[in-house]
């Protein structure tokens, strides 16, 4: 008992305040286009393993939901017009939280869920990296409970569903049943490139698709996997607590 107490005291507090963490120099964050060349160079479009880069009206557009942050487009850009930044705050809101539905709905949801959010996790076919990063949110560094957020064992106790992985054929029913078991109002977050875009693994007989092909999604968090701070950003963005 004394050794345990000694251990606790010697380590002290490690919990970080949001946004305090450092981003190492090799970290591969948001891909930005420095200058659209306007030429017919499609090296980056062809090189992307998840087809996240497209050309729209002569401009390159990067869909970060599908980006796996591998850096292949940057290596293949002969003109060196693409680069990674250290930005990982790429979560976006849509669905019930978007302004198009009406600000009153959004405010209502935030009033109900904003102070204490309980989350149920569903692995719809992930590689477990996103799951481990969700687990990391409970470690002493992030201590997600300090924001009034916690993970619960049953969808009946949950306000939010965090879905990791591309929805597989074998998990469609489980995802739907979990979603239907949640009380309303509720939110759904698609965690990581598989859940948000469904494009990490090419077309396969065993895959149904992205999470939003089955249940409505309110928050998308890009990343492969998103680092815990990126998940926290997504959660706080959804609750308007930034």
């Amino acid at each position: 008992m004394i050794t345990i107490l000694k251990k606790i005291l010697s380590i002290g507090m490690v919990t970080e305040i949001y946004d305090e963490g450092q981003v190492p120099s090799r970290f591969r964050g948001q891909v930005v286009i420095e200058k659209n060349l306007g030429k017919n160079c499609i090296a980056c479009i062809v090189s992307c393993p998840t087809k996240a880069i497209t050309e729209q009206n002569g401009c390159l557009v990067i869909d970060h939901k599908a980006c796996i942050f591998c850096g292949r487009c940057i290596e293949h850009c002969e003109a060196q017009q693409l680069k990674h930044t250290s930005n990982y705050k790429l979560a976006t809101i849509s669905g019930k939280l978007s302004n198009s539905i009406g600000i009153s709905v959004k405010e209502k949801i935030r009033n109900v869920l904003g102070r204490s959010l309980h989350i149920r996790h569903v692995d719809a076919g992930s590689c477990n990296a996103c799951d481990f990063e969700m687990n990391a949110l409970s470690n002493p560094f992030y201590d997600v409970q300090q924001y009034g957020i916690d993970f619960v064992a049953s969808p009946r106790h949950a306000d939010m569903l965090m879905v990791t992985g591309v929805v597989t054929r074998n998990l469609m029913q489980a995802l739907l049943m979990t979603y239907e078991a949640m009380p309303t109002p509720n939110l759904v977050m698609a965690v990581g490139a598989c859940a948000a875009s469904g494009r990490v693994f090419s077309n396969s007989y065993a895959i149904h698709g992205a999470v939003d092909t089955l249940v409505p999604v309110d928050i998308y968090v890009p990343g492969c996997p998103p680092r815990p701070q990126a998940l926290l950003y997504g959660l706080l963005l959804g609750l308007d607590k930034l």
């Binding site: 050794t3 345990i4 251990k7 606790i8 380590i11 490690v14 190492p24 090799r26 970290f27 591969r28 393993p49 998840t50 796996i68 942050f69 591998c70 850096g71 292949r72 996790h121 569903v122 692995d123 076919g125 992930s126 590689c127 477990n128 990296a129 996103c130 799951d131 481990f132 990063e133 969700m134 687990n135 990391a136 409970s138 470690n139 002493p140 560094f141 993970f151 064992a153 049953s154 992985g165 591309v166 597989t168 054929r169 074998n170 998990l171 469609m172 029913q173 489980a174 979990t178 990490v200 693994f201 090419s202 077309n203 396969s204 007989y205 065993a206 895959i207 492969c224 996997p225 680092r227």
Partner: protein, 501 residues
């Protein structure tokens, strides 16, 4: 790789000849649709033993029906491979004791075999409503406890059906493959470079191991050698992966018995290693470092120094954590003699990795089937014989020490010549095949690859360490009480994603 060719009906005979001294064991078994190349289907069996691999290729002639005598009655480890081949290729093993669907669940219609080459992605696949029977025990006072596929914690999906007499588990049936993404089919036709991104994403916690196995398969087929510096960087990444897995798993094991301080310290140490991973490779799961032909980034002397400094802190904290566990009788009482896996069961099921070494089976791919620069490194392979949760814990503890030792050696001797870290893959003769392997944090991880025209993937078979070890969990759980199951499961700490693919 060379294969002993035989008719599929003689597979059992040839397999028995190879294994009669028990020096070789069945490590992988898969089918391949070679109708467009040779005009037939083939079943490959890979045997490993004595630092060597032997392959046999069972051929179905064109006129033959797609049936063959099952290997399972003689090799228990063939059971799941044969069920998988039956599901995906429609090849029937006659005499198999349990041909329930494994990979494709009851929503998959009869008569559609997705791994055959003539199954295209445009084929409409209706949702079937077949019956799936879990195996249980019937009798007075016996009841069933269904668990999953969605569990209470943040873990991967799997369905477990316990047959209970009181608290005692008298039978456990597991239905897995929920996260089956069909990766083996998805990579077919992709270029070797593109397929590497998916190989790395089969499993999060084994990303490096899969990347290395895949890259080594490509390199052995292409017959290229990568630079010593690149080999060192790969081993560094592989050992960092082992380190964060083992440290995290030991912390997580404490969650199986509600030892909160162990959970906190374990997850704190794991987070420190994950941050180190991000510093070294730019990704917390070490992704993007290992690519076919070499590695993407160098490890500079400055970075080496940073790693060594962090390592000191990590190992000190780790020894403290182990001290907390070793001195705690309540903890030891729960882990000792719980979830025993016998040596005999290990050998029959072909169990690998930590689970095998905790049951007295002295195997480690890094030492026995030498690859990369492991042959120049000095490390020990810990082996325990009690086969219980504690033994698996102590194997991990000792391996953490060994991994730290390996990383120190690597960083000390790593050449910093800045020489070519990446060798380009030459044009490969179509339809050559080969094997790549590595030791992940869970055990032997094998990738078999056949390359088609224009350096594109023709067939990719992935046998991760979790594949042979999952059936062992259902064996180890027997005669334990149901509240100990989470603990037993966590002591194996297998990946669902690795198995399901």
């Amino acid at each position: 790789m060379k294969y002993q060719e035989t008719a599929a009906r003689d597979l059992v005979k040839v397999a028995k000849e190879i294994c009669h001294t028990r020096a070789y064991g069945l490590s992988a078994m898969f089918a391949n649709d070679e109708r467009s190349i040779n005009g037939y289907f083939a079943i490959y069996c890979i045997f490993a033993g004595a630092g060597n691999f032997k392959g046999i290729k069972g051929i179905f002639t064109q006129k033959e029906e797609l049936t063959y005598p099952s290997l399972t009655p003689f090799f228990s480890s063939a059971a799941w491979y044969e069920r998988e081949i039956h599901d995906l290729f429609g090849i029937l093993p006659i005499g198999h004791p349990d041909l329930r669907p494994l990979v494709l669940h009851e929503n998959w219609p009869e008569g559609l075999y997705p791994m055959r080459k003539d199954f295209s992605m445009d084929t409409p696949v209706p949702v079937a409503q077949k019956q799936y029977d879990m195996v249980g025990v019937q009798g007075e006072g016996v009841f069933e406890v269904p668990v999953g596929p969605i569990h209470a914690g943040i873990i991967e999906p799997g369905h477990f059906r316990f047959s209970q007499a009181g608290e005692q588990v008298i039978h456990l049936d597991a239905k897995l493959f929920y996260t089956h993404r069909g990766i083996e089919k998805a990579v077919e036709g992709l270029s070797l470079e593109m397929a590497a991104y998916q190989a790395e994403r089969i499993c999060g916690a084994c990303s490096v191991s899969h990347a290395i196995s895949y890259a080594q398969a490509v390199e052995s087929i292409a017959n290229i050698t990568i630079s010593p510096e690149a080999e060192c960087v790969r081993v560094l990444a592989a050992e960092l992966e082992r380190l964060y897995n083992h440290v995290g798993d030991i912390g997580n094991l404490c969650a199986g018995l509600g030892f909160a301080i162990g959970i906190s310290h374990g997850s704190r140490l794991k987070e420190i290693i994950m941050r180190l991973n991000e510093t070294v490779t730019g990704n917390r799961f070490l992704r993007g470092m290992v690519i076919p032909g070499g590695v993407s980034r160098e490890v500079t002397p400055k970075l080496s120094w940073e790693i060594l400094v962090e390592l000191e802190k990590i190992i000190e904290g780790f020894r403290d954590l182990i001290g907390l566990l070793q001195d705690n009788n309540a903890f030891l009482d729960r882990v000792e003699s719980t979830g025993i896996l016998t040596r005999e069961a290990c050998r029959d099921l072909g169990v690998v990795g930590v689970a095998a070494r905790a049951s007295g089976v002295d195997v480690d791919m890094r030492r026995d089937y030498r690859y990369s620069v492991y042959k120049q490194l000095n490390f020990k392979v810990p082996v325990y014989t009690s086969g219980d949760v504690a033994a698996r814990l102590w194997v991990r503890r000792d391996e953490v020490e060994q991994s730290v030792k390996i990383i120190r050696q690597i960083l000390k001797d790593m050449p910093h010549k800045g020489e070519k870290l990446l060798v380009s893959i030459p044009a490969i003769m179509p339809y050559s095949s080969g094997l790549g392997w590595s030791e992940s944090a869970r055990g032997a991880n094998l990738h078999w690859l056949m390359i088609g025209e224009n350096n594109r993937v023709y067939r990719h078979f992935i046998r991760s360490a979790s594949y042979p070890n999952w059936p062992a969990v259902t064996v180890a759980a027997l005669n334990n009480i149901i509240p100990d199951f989470p603990l037993i499961n966590k002591s194996f700490e297998l990946c669902y994603a690795c198995l399901d693919r």
